[in-house]
């Protein structure tokens, strides 16, 4: 057996999806009997044209769009030809499912054959090793700053059409735009503040991503500040953690909070902000009841209210929910 498998272009119709794949298995455990190919397909999220809000939704849609734009896959899938001759996909089931779907639906492109590394009759342990390496270790994604730098170079230096960049990334154009704009702001305003080469901290990029959110730049300008001031606050750790950037509109508009912010930063300034009054009964309610009430409230949220919140991510409600999320996550770390 070759350790890396043999590189081939294999007819997709000859390959079976892997029923032992963890995502497929999780789905199939809910059903009795022998799963149909359609059920396996559904488990992988293939065939779904809508942008899903499920955790795997956007990633799946991005992959789908990227394969269509690229007219194929970059990394070959991994197959095991079993002793009875059956070809089973042990890594790359979603990509295979998409090829099968494109072929069935007549999507423009060549989807009959898929690039694959074919192994011969692998032992179970070898199959597990491949799955573990692919899904639990996986390739290391680029950090956000490096991604943004690359996107900016494609657009600015290579002059690649914006629409093409978005299609290759498979994401939303506003995300790509935010990354490019954040990169430009960081380079123009943060980098000049850094005297030593090594002191440039790419991890602070997320602060510049937050800066692109609606209303932040406007309030910075309206209160007589500049983006260099913003970069200085980032550099001097006044905005630490970096998600406190979203508090800036409230802080900068409030004289007392602003003065605290200049001296001690956003977290301290937050304490000086006027806190909304909380109903006495709510304040006195036990933690479990409050948590359940919040869950119920979110579950029963009318669609109009949901749409309003979605189109207004800078609202106080979203701000309060993000704060709860952070505090709860931090709190629950204590419990393993």
């Amino acid at each position: 057996m070759s350790e890396t498998g043999v590189s081939e272009k294999v007819p997709v119709e000859q390959i079976e999806l892997d029923r032992l794949n963890p995502r497929i298995r999780k789905f199939l455990e809910m059903y009795d009997g022998d799963p149909t190919p359609q059920q396996i397909f559904l488990a992988l999220g293939a065939g779904n044209d809508e942008e899903s809000e499920a955790p795997t939704g956007p990633t799946f849609q991005k992959l789908k769009q990227s394969i269509i734009t690229h007219r194929g896959i970059i990394h070959p899938i991994i197959l095991n030809r079993q002793s009875d001759g059956t070809l089973v996909c042990i890594e790359g089931n979603t990509r295979l499912a998409l090829y099968k779907d494109f072929l069935k639906r007549g999507v423009d492109g060549e989807w009959e054959f898929i690039p694959a590394l074919v192994h011969e009759d692998l032992e179970d342990t070898e199959v597990h090793a491949i799955r573990l390496q692919a899904h639990l270790v996986g390739p290391r994604p680029w950090d956000p700053y490096s991604k943004a730098k690359y996107l900016h170079e494609l657009r600015h230096t290579n002059d690649m059409p914006f629409a093409m960049i978005v299609d290759f990334c498979g994401g939303r154009q506003s995300e790509v735009m935010t990354f490019i704009e954040a990169y430009i702001d960081m380079e123009n305003h943060y980098r000049p503040l850094i005297s030593e080469d090594g002191a440039f901290d790419p991890k602070r990029f997320s602060g510049f991503v937050e800066l692109q959110k609606p209303g932040i730049k406007k309030v910075i300008a309206e209160t007589g500040h500049s983006l260099t001031d913003f970069a200085t606050w980032v550099h001097e750790d006044k905005l630490k953690p970096l998600n406190t950037v979203r508090l800036l509109p409230r802080i900068l508009k409030n004289k007392k909070a602003r003065d605290v912010f200049y001296k001690k930063g956003a977290r301290a300034a937050e304490m000086a902000l006027d806190k909304p009054k909380i109903d006495h009964n709510l304040q006195a309610a036990p933690l479990d009841q409050l948590a359940r009430a919040l869950t119920n409230k979110l579950d029963a949220l009318p669609y109009d209210e949901f749409k309003d919140l979605r189109s207004n991510p800078g609202s106080d409600t979203i701000g309060a929910l993000l704060e709860v999320k952070e505090r709860v996550t931090e709190f629950l770390r204590e419990f393993g």
């Binding site: 154009q173 735009m177 309206e222």
Partner: protein, 138 residues
């Protein structure tokens, strides 16, 4: 022509103008609220209302907001508030432009409305009134 068909045609006229303005829609970020959007992304809320079209070049040097109004729509109080809100938003956005697409015979009325709704603060943005006949003239 139905109201919605006319509205769709007016949105198309805005997109057509954007294409002429920027050379190619492929080079810009364009978010439109039409039946078959250029890319699957709705325009953002600015800040109370969602326009029909929102576009910027990449990186941003210009922001363009496009709104389509049928003759009936153009006269509603909600539309006036909406247009005023876009003008107010763009008054604080350097090098911005509001495109108002209306039926040909409503153009004088639309121009008058834009003059009346000048924002109280900031720099009044550039405005342009177009109609769906611009589509036929290419």
């Amino acid at each position: 022509m139905t109201e919605s068909a006319q509205h769709a045609r007016l949105v198309k006229a805005i997109l057509s103008l954007l294409e002429k303005h920027f050379g190619s829609l492929d080079d810009i970020m364009v978010r439109d609220d039409s039946l078959r959007p250029v890319r699957a992304e709705r325009p953002p809320k600015l800040p109370q209302y969602i326009p029909d079209v929102y576009a910027t070049d990449v990186p941003t040097t210009q922001v363009i907001v496009g709104e389509a109004k049928t003759a009936k729509d153009l006269e509603t109080a909600r539309s006036h508030k909406q247009i005023a809100s876009f003008l107010e938003y763009l008054a604080h956005t350097p090098n911005s432009l509001l495109i108002l697409a209306v039926p040909f015979d409503c153009k004088p009325r639309a121009r008058g409305l834009l003059r009346k709704l000048v924002p109280a603060h900031g720099t009044a943005p550039d405005t342009k009134v177009i109609d769906d006949l611009d589509l036929e003239q290419g």
